[in-house]
Symmetry: C2
Subunit: 345 residues, 2 copies
């Protein structure tokens, strides 16, 4: 009955490429080689109990038929390989490769694999990726700008670790950066150096829910600095954005003696603008960045910046996945940047 019924639908060597290409299966190979599918399995997986001759023949047929085992069928039966999905805003922004390296290292250490996708700084893509990656992995690590409520419909039921979003969550695991501490450290440093007229290059609120500007204002008030909100300029989060912002800041307040930049990219732009304007850094104007990108080593002078251990951040995220996978909802993990004083202050 289940025997050798007529092969009604023979896929043959149909390499039409299109969608209808019936997959070559273990049984197809078996049929073609005149053995049972079990024997083929043994041959493919290099198990011992098989005649070397049969084996060679089977492997030959398999190759000819372009047989490729289905990872799904395999995964269903064999001990699972954990796969983590990683969503970052932009692979090319030098911040993220370092972060990714941390994730890879920690994942590798556990024998896990990592599926990566980039949102290209496009918030709607965040959600789409969340959904599509979510169905393919055992857990997600993601930079995200949406709130829990916005996220909820898109996060099927995958354990999720959100990185540096700056919002609490009662549902997802978090890895946070203590930005406030970082800003304070940077401001304190500038103030210790005697600076009082300090400008800030900020970023559109989407990058950061107001922490930087809030703390900046707080510190300014605590120290009675002679500056107001006009000393804070919002710029694009790019080199050119930083340059433009610096120019604007300088035009508005020619007497400023220091600038605190949203991040290193912006700071580098500012440094260039300063050079163009004939402003010497740090003599005429000090400059503090944020992130501690390794490219800032290359600058002349090297940038004073709040160094964040991005690699560690990635490792922490994977650690949170650990806990999630163990069934807990761990408390937020927090990483604090460290002031790295170099040539620009």
């Amino acid at each position: 009955m289940a025997g050798q019924r007529e092969t009604e639908e023979q896929p043959g060597r149909d390499s039409l490429g299109a969608g209808t290409v019936k997959r070559v299966t273990l049984r197809d190979v078996a049929k073609a080689a005149g053995v049972s599918h079990q024997t083929v399995s043994r041959a493919i997986n290099g198990k011992g109990e098989i005649d070397p001759e049969t084996r060679r023949r089977v492997l030959d047929v398999a190759r000819r038929l372009r047989y490729q085992p289905s990872r799904f069928a395999r995964g269903l039966v064999r001990p699972e390989v954990v796969t983590v999905g990683l969503i970052v805003p932009d692979v090319v922004n030098p911040f993220f490769p370092e972060f990714m390296a941390g994730v890879f290292a920690a994942a590798d250490q556990r024998g896990w694999q990592v599926l990566v996708a980039s949102t290209e700084n496009t918030p709607p893509r965040e959600l789409a990726l969340l959904r599509s990656l979510g169905r393919q992995v055992d857990a997600l690590v993601s930079y995200l700008s949406h709130s829990d409520a916005q996220l909820e419909p898109y996060v099927a039921s995958v354990p999720l670790v959100i990185v540096d979003r700056g919002m609490d969550s009662s549902t997802y695991a978090l890895v946070e950066v203590d930005t406030a501490a970082g800003i304070r450290a940077g401001m304190r440093h500038l103030i210790d150096q005697g600076h009082r007229r300090i400008g800030m290059i900020d970023c559109a609120p989407i990058c950061d829910p107001f922490v930087r500007r809030r703390v900046f204002a707080e510190v300014a008030e605590e120290h009675a600095l002679p500056i107001d909100d006009h000393w804070r300029i919002v710029g694009e989060q790019t080199l050119d954005g930083g340059a433009a912002a610096f120019e604007a800041l300088h035009a508005a307040h020619p007497d400023l003696t220091a600038v605190f930049a949203f991040n290193d990219l912006v700071a580098i732009g500012a440094l260039r603008a300063a050079r163009r304007l004939g402003i010497r850094v740090p003599d005429d104007c000090a400059l503090v960045g944020y992130d501690g990108l390794s490219v800032t080593d290359l600058l002349d002078p090297p940038l004073t910046t709040l160094y964040l251990d991005k690699r560690r951040l990635g490792e922490m995220a994977v650690h949170q996945v650990d806990r999630l996978l163990a069934g807990e909802l761990p408390p937020p993990a927090v990483l604090t940047p460290r002031l790295n004083v170099r040539g620009t202050t």
Copy 2:
């Protein structure tokens, strides 16, 4: 009968974490909710044909049981998502993020996903990753330093695209960089500028099978340059390696007027060393890099370099996957670097 039977084996909140945690399946949820597994499936997948009330109840149970659909079982049944494995030597080396961005973009455009792993510049890891990733993906794109013969036992039967290996292959698809053309363009430029005593900072043979040194020597001979193999120094492929190599080169040949560096990273190191030695670039000594990393924009002076469109390289690799998946073995795709003259020559 199928109703509310005693739940004989209640996994409950067993968060022992260890390996034995039996997976919660659709049927477990079904049993707990007193419905058929089919109904659960409908609820989970938001299909229409289900009573909103049942649905809510089922989803509730699912959540409580921490149900998570198996991506394998799903993949087995649903139209497959193509997954490409991507193996790079080092995520943090600024060359590769750009390359990866190209791969991601091209993959995304096709609705494919990308599984990434890094060899950390460790050749043995190449092979291990090749094997482990190979069983999890539909095709591989990889930077590889081994020969076809060495690779063969590790490449199960996955379509493989090798990037910039500099060796022909009769088995795998290739994306190559026309390094020879690049070197020639760089040398010609230096020679046009009147340089004759040109040093080269080369890299250990593993990075590059002799193309650079060969072409360097060829051009030197063609133009009867007064230099021999001692004008070529092998250095570590790092900033410090570049600096050390420059120093060695300068010590050996104080009269050199130009240096051709293996890549931009090395060139940047050389630039620093030059500055330390009080050698002005380009006045006392010209410098040409290779790769066209975007960080070289930030330097002062910006680096003259052979710009390679790394993003494009990634896209080309994915295109080769296309062909492979269609059953062809495409001819090598070749990308040629473009001389980008800036401040150091």
